[in-house]
Symmetry: C2
Subunit: 772 residues, 2 copies
């Protein structure tokens, strides 16, 4: 732990971009414009599965103001991403910019670029496409029976597990001997849980704008979580060196995983390179719903065995995930349903297997929770079932089996992950204790009320990760200005989470200066060092670690300069942080002579003749999980089946919260998103695979009226591997609401709903069924 | 010397920004626009010397479209530049943004900001200023007699040598015993030379645009040679931390010293901060002539003693320079008339003194040659006079006395400069030899022709510097991209000289890659490391040295990564440059296994988990002079006095020319500018101090018809202290034309003109005088 008392870390400072955000000065992708800007629009497939026989663009091309039309014949056919040319990729390479086959309603067919959006839209209607319609499949279990033409029959796709059966990926692991384990169990429960397809619903849709700069380089301004990956992918598919591509991330209106890969950028890039003009492509909300990524629906069959005293002895989990028309993150997300979920309880014998299956539906991809949210719904419901069977308090059985500090994550070991997985910090006990107290667990649990309106309480625990150990890394550069202020350059990507603020806090703390003494420049592939991007709850832990390292190196360089000025050994000097928010830090020698940072900076300029600066990279061999225990108090209207969440407590161990207000904001946002997942969010398709609710009228998001009184408890642990003791917070809270609410409903009405969302219709049907 | 054969250095590659320059895609300051842009215009003084009693802006403010008017009351009154708050500054601090006294016709009085340029111009006419007109002085010798109110009587000016006598600065040095020296001389000559005021005439005038970015930071896009100094000066006068200021240098249309300090940026900054709108201020040509800097006119009294065999034994030089209304670079430029000129010949006894004097004329400042051009006109004419007295060949007396390799610059020692001044390289002998051969010196000299048209040849030698030793420094950052290409970030400023190309060549050479594998980002105070800027012929030598160091460090980091990949000690690896222009470099181990740069880059990304990058700073303790010997062949029309330069040879030792074509371009440009200085350029004032020729019709620049056949000879030496053996080239050739042509005129007609420019009128007057 840092020897100095903390000054800025652990403080809810205002966001460094707060003023521009609230004044509307912040620039998002759509706020950028240029003279001669062209507008792009995507023609999409009306069929769920078809071959394109021909595309006649003559009429569309003849429309005044149409500048270019692209079909599969006009663009590079490089599969994303070529194997062996990049970092490890887990996904099948089953996707090209534009293909000659369409695989879902909404799949890309052609791109129009025109002088106005209106003309582009008119041109779409003038493109005539002849399709050879193929049989389609939407159900993932049916898809594996291979009675239709395989969705992916292309010759050059790589990495598909079994294309003929539409299986994108398969994986299985075993720990101990699960059959033996079940033989030792006194009680065994088995259920099948089903989760639905949901949508990220970031306020900003996918948005990209491209242009050629004055030197003819391709510049893409884009709403992305991964500027450097986008540059890499563009470089590969366009066969352009990275010196010719610049990706700029401006302010972003949310990502939640939906912007975790190249998306519209490839289309914009080909349009810019062809027309040599600036081109903008912004998805409308309906396009976002259909064409953007969504959360994998899963079927999770799970069986758990326990001793009479509640000790869990065996667990078997079989997952099928519906990835839709393309693979994207299919393998890794499905695997994470086991990888991130199964370590929560220490179970000696485990079997886990997973299939990711192609169907003719929109594509599923990364989404906050990343497989864990589905898995925890299943396991956290089932542990309540075991508790019920054993007549135990669900809190007690959790407390008995839960992972503890210094435990090793054996699931990660079984997956062969090259990680150190000893829990250096674990505040799950305190999360459970403080959360239970806040909700009034002891008084309220197992006390079903009389009458029509029945109340109950439920709980769930969860964990997640802090970046991907051994994989994710980031870099930071810190540059001393000649007035003693600093520039901080990070490749990390603030999506609205406040990570620019958190990283500036880390730098300010380490450098002993005020926040206003540092200006952060983030996420521009030209200007900042590499960072994998914002995903897997990694930014504070991984990129923050890079900032801390760079700051420490700059501190050393400053001390070295001060040593030259004092003609004193560096070990005789002390680096003092600012004593008031307005004062800069200073260096003092043993005779208590002082040098201000400004004096040292001027010395470096005038006599030292050097730019004091450092770049540091950070990759962690651990991925310390944050933990959460969440508690819901619900009321169920037994006449309508309507569930109302009255109160909600989320206790979260995210290590040291660098900025508690921002951490609480993340918890509140994640719980809200989890609440929508639990209660009503669902993408609904007709029999032809057409999305029926691609808008916020028909796709229900939680609003202020849906929100319970929400209490957030930050349980502080000190994670020695993280910057200033920090772990992560972004994802873990989203895992709680679905099982906590389902368990509360069970507590209220004794009925177990195993399908998400927990709609009134399902509750009422179940109530009627149980009465009959 | 580099062990590897050179691949890119010493090659005349195309400029890295060449295509955008010739296609018009390059963006200069005036090419930037923004919605809501306001236009600024400066109200200037009609009086050469006056106090401002009052300024009535009511009518101007009432004009529709006027947004703001600034007078001295509205802006910070911080003198540029506060002592003790910055790097060493040599100048008096006698200048504020807007003052209550005006000191020349054209001095700033007020600033108008309006919605259009037309409205701003109309508003200027509506501002009513009441002046208390003071007596003015324009002649520098008169100005020192203090019979008028002192030009600088302000209380808070700092560093003026004697304000009551209008002496901005004074300095004297002595080497040996000059009186003793003259006693030993067999021949002594003494003359007074006068040089005129000339103008830089960069194609782009002073141009600045400012705005507040989305975070409320002040951004200044400006045509400057010194972005980092501009940031510092803005920070000081506006009392803003550097985190709140960004200075961007776009493409620049020439500087020649005129843009070597804050100029319009302060006005634009106050206008932006007040109006919160983008503001642009572009000088018209006439404003540039009057309000911009010009070259110091000097009166140089010089006396030289020689032995009968031509050995120079004593020299005495008294300089008075007219700095105009403000000090600016007055002390250092005037000192350089001795500092850079006197070392050319080894003279044991020297006295030098210099006064810089205020007058009520436009301000003089830095200008290519920086004091040396005036001095060499005097010394190189006078050495011909001695040769004439001794009946020696002027070439011979120069060759006899000239500075040689391994000599020490005793003048620099006498000035107390903290420099190592041993000449590591000196190709002056070869410059003289090859230049003389090219012009046909032996055949043509001393052969005056009969008839009206008389021909003659003349020569001159000169030297300069490569940055200021112990003062100037720069930094560079090199970042490896994940495809094996590089980003190069330099604070150095390409003014059109091609330094971006030269620095990229140095990086490409050191990294073993092709030019197209590197993208350079230059001169943005946010994005690049510090550099003092482009002046004193420093960029290739000083900033190029930083690029070389950074590249060497990156090379080491690449080798380290390759060592990890091969599991081999780094010393067993060899770094091979690209074998063809298309192939990337590679690293091979002793078993001849190869790794491409791309493979190593991917390793660093995927396994190494680090951003390979380095930042290096470079300051040199030496400032190796480039040398030149120049030869002119002229024809003088004795009926009109007209001089025609028929042929011109410039032989230059600039060390190793990184890009010979660009070096030759610099020589050609400097000789052309020197030719205008020699023959016809001159700013002419009326008796009230009003400039009579503020335009290209009345101020004569050399055009194609004025140009002789010009031959450039690059004499290669290897300067061990410079990157790849380079010294500098930008300034030294400008020093030659005036004395070479004056000496050729003497050779043709036996008449010595000691006043520049060498107009027909002066020649004819002198001819008539000599006849009578």
């Amino acid at each position: 732990m840092s020897a100095e008392p903390l000054r800025i870390v652990k403080t809810s400072v205002e966001k460094v971009d707060g003023i521009r955000l609230v004044t509307g000065a912040a620039k998002y992708t759509d706020d950028f414009g240029m003279p001669g800007l062209l507008y792009a629009k995507v023609l999409t497939s009306p069929h769920a599965h078809a071959r394109i026989i021909s595309i006649d663009t003559e009429k569309a091309n003849a429309l005044a103001g149409v500048r270019a039309i692209f079909t599969a014949d006009d663009v590079p056919a490089v599969r994303h991403t070529k194997a062996g040319q990049s970092y490890p990729e887990y996904s099948p390479y089953d996707h090209v910019i534009l293909d000659k086959k369409v695989r879902f309603i909404g799949d890309r067919v052609a791109l129009v670029v025109a002088e106005s959006l209106k003309i582009a839209e008119q041109a779409l209607a003038l493109i005539e496409v002849a399709y050879d319609v193929l049989p389609a499949v939407f159900d993932m279990e049916q898809a594996m029976q291979a009675e239709i033409p395989p969705i992916h029959d292309e010759d050059d796709a790589v990495g598909i597990y079994d294309a003929s059966r539409n299986v994108a990926s398969y994986r299985a692991i075993d720990i101990g001997d699960v059959q033996q384990g079940f033989q030792e169990a006194d009680v065994i429960v088995e259920h099948t849980y089903r989760t639905q397809r949901t949508k990220h619903c970031a306020l900003e849709t996918h948005s990209s704008m491209g242009y050629l700069d004055e030197n003819g380089r391709l510049v893409i301004i884009t709403s992305t979580q991964v500027p450097f990956h986008t540059r890499r992918q563009l470089s590969q598919i366009l066969d352009l060196p990275m010196t010719r591509i610049r990706v700029i991330k401006p302010r972003i209106g949310g990502g939640f995983g939906n912007k975790q890969g190249m998306f519209l950028e490839d289309l914009v890039a080909v349009a810019v390179l062809k027309t040599r003009k600036p081109v903008k492509l912004i998805f409308e909300r309906s396009e976002e719903f259909i064409g953007g990524y969504s959360r994998h629906p899963q079927i999770i069959r799970i069986k758990t065995g326990a001793k009479r005293d509640g000790t869990l002895v065996a667990q078997e989990m079989h997952v099928i995930g519906n990835t839709g028309a393309y693979g994207d993150h299919a393998p890794s997300i499905q695997e994470c349903t086991g990888r991130k979920v199964l370590p929560l309880y220490s179970i000696p014998n485990i079997h886990f297997d997973v299939h990711a299956v192609y169907t003719n539906l929109p594509v599923c991809g990364a989404f906050r929770g990343y497989g864990a949210i589905q898995g925890f719904f299943a396991t956290e419901c089932q542990i309540d079932e075991i508790a019920a069977q054993l007549n135990m308090d669900p809190l007690e059985i959790r407390e008995k089996n839960r992972i503890r500090q210094d435990d090793t994550d054996r699931v990660a070991e079984a997956f062969g992950d090259a990680e150190e997985r000893v829990m250096l910090s674990c505040g799950l006990d305190e999360c459970i204790e403080r959360g239970a107290k806040a909700i009034g667990w002891q008084e309220k649990r197992g006390k079903p009320s009389d009458g029509v309106m029945k109340r109950g309480v439920g709980m769930a625990c969860a964990m997640q990760a802090s970046g991907i150990a051994g994989v994710d890394w980031g870099s930071a550069t810190i540059k001393l200005n000649d007035d003693g202020t600093f520039g901080l350059f990070v490749g990390a990507t603030d999506l609205g989470t406040g990570s620019d603020t958190v990283l500036t806090q880390i730098a300010a703390e380490a450098l002993g200066v005020d926040l206003s003494d540092i200006y952060i420049i983030a996420s521009d592939t030209d200007l900042t060092p590499f960072d994998v991007g914002a995903y897997a709850s990694s930014t504070t832990y991984v990129s923050g670690g890079a900032v801390k390292k760079a700051a420490d190196q700059v501190r050393t360089a400053i001390l070295t300069a001060a040593g030259e000025m004092f003609e004193e050994k560096v070990e005789n000097l002390t680096y003092h942080p600012a004593e008031t928010p307005d004062s800069r830090c200073y260096v003092a020698n043993k005779r208590e002579q002082r040098l201000s940072l400004k004096e040292i900076a001027l010395y470096a300029m005038n006599q030292g003749k050097r730019q004091i600066t450092a770049t540091a990279s950070n990759m962690s061999h651990t991925s310390p999980p944050p933990f959460t225990a969440q508690f819901a108090k619900v009321e169920v209207d037994t006449e309508t089946g309507q569930i109302t969440v009255l109160r909600y407590v989320a206790a979260v161990d995210c290590g040291v919260a660098i900025n508690p207000a921002l951490a609480e904001g993340q918890v509140e946002g994640a719980v809200t998103q989890g609440l929508g997942y639990a209660l009503f969010e669902e993408m609904v398709f007709d029999d032809n695979g057409r999305l029926l609710n691609p808008n916020f009228a028909d796709y229900k998001l939680p609003n202020a009226f849906d929100m319970p009184k929400l209490e957030t408890i930050l349980v502080e642990t000190y994670e020695a591997s993280g910057p200033y003791g920090a772990k992560s917070v972004a994802e873990v809270p989203i895992n709680g609401p679905a099982p906590a609410i389902a368990n509360a409903v069970y507590d209220a009405i004794g009925i177990r709903i195993t399908d998400l969302p927990l709609t009134a219709e399902k509750v009422l049907t179940a109530l009627k069924k149980s009465e009959s």
